[in-house]
Symmetry: C2
Subunit: 215 residues, 2 copies
């Protein structure tokens, strides 16, 4: 199946305009068929040995979100103390999540036991199943952007606490808690870049020929 | 920036027709500007705290590929012994890589020390930087499919050996070695599904409402 030049450009437009959304969620409901489409995209991510180790917990209730917001607040307070004084003030001023504002939360997980102990392609690198679930997150994120939905990844939270709130068993690894919803606008650049926290690295400095550091 | 319905459909077409390619690589060279475009897509993946922990080593020489193929063969022989007898025969018959055939190899890495010890969003979950580099892999993969390029992820290889071959320092984690090139065709389904190794899981069984296992 051939992808045309116009289709290719649509893919690049989507990839380059994707953002990590925190502050721009609108309360408008996300139709169930749209949620199903982005989850179907996630389910078509590559997975090691066709393991498909993911599950998707769709969170909609305010009381569940409140517990997750509380868990974030705790982990965020701990994190604040890890920055030196100069950076701490700026860190505290950044909006880093939209847990309550986003109408939908989706937790993407990894079942490391799925399809038995020996998985094709996970024999030398044990983390391959976790990486497969991350690929599902990124497929979901790109599909969501193509639906004009914003996505924000909440990583300032302890997995044990998230497991507790969402009743996830011990053998399942939470990979991502994603806030999802329509947005008032998408920022033209990543917010941490706009805020002057870090700059976009020159891509040429990241590419090596044949060996590490070789140009 | 709005994504139109046609653009959205182009994204889904790309996501659903993406494959893990092993046997269909053509020797046709991949132009440098195409490589640069897919690496630019990778560089626009989400990264924790805008850390951008990735590098890209572009492998083109046959002698480098030969070493990687040799490392694969060793890890593959080890893996063969991990399957029970029934599955072992089928496992041995599967073509699992196109290292020599693909004109380009790209190793995507993660520099866990980039931008200092404290990274926004990596304070509670230390793996977030590794996950960022996986998002870069998936962005690259989707962009490559949009360019009608096949990609195959070689995970049957030991990271220490890959590090050695590509002269990657100790503190850098190899995330993926990808074989990339134009292809004679894309399979309509994942090859492991076609071969009857595993089936596509019914997506409805993977989605829970509000809590684990709740429907």
């Amino acid at each position: 199946m051939n992808i045309t030049k116009d289709e290719r450009d649509a893919v690049y437009k989507t990839i380059f305009s994707r953002r990590d959304v925190r502050g721009e969620f609108k309360p408008d409901p996300v139709p169930d068929d749209v949620i199903k489409r982005i989850l179907t995209a996630a389910h078509h991510a590559p997975s090691v040995g066709f393991m498909q180790p993911w599950n998707f917990i769709v969170v909609k209730k305010a009381e569940t979100k409140k517990e997750i917001k509380h868990a974030f607040a705790k982990a965020h307070a701990e994190a604040t103390m890890m920055f030196d004084e100069e950076k701490r003030k700026q860190y505290k001023s950044l909006k880093l999540e939209g847990i309550m504002e986003a109408p939908i939360g989706i937790c993407v997980t990894c079942d490391r036991t799925r399809n038995g102990p020996t998985v094709i392609g996970r024999t030398a690198i044990q983390e391959m199943d976790l990486y497969s679930s991350v690929c599902a997150v990124q497929n979901l994120w790109i599909a969501a952007r193509a639906e004009n939905l914003g996505v924000g990844w909440v990583s300032i939270i302890h997995n044990e606490v998230l497991r507790d709130i969402l009743k996830i068993p011990e053998h399942i690894v939470p990979i991502a808690y994603l806030c999802i919803g329509y947005v008032s606008f998408f920022h033209d650049k990543p917010e941490l870049e706009k805020a002057g926290w870090l700059s976009r690295i020159d891509i040429d400095s990241l590419i090596y020929d044949e060996y590490w550091l070789s140009k």
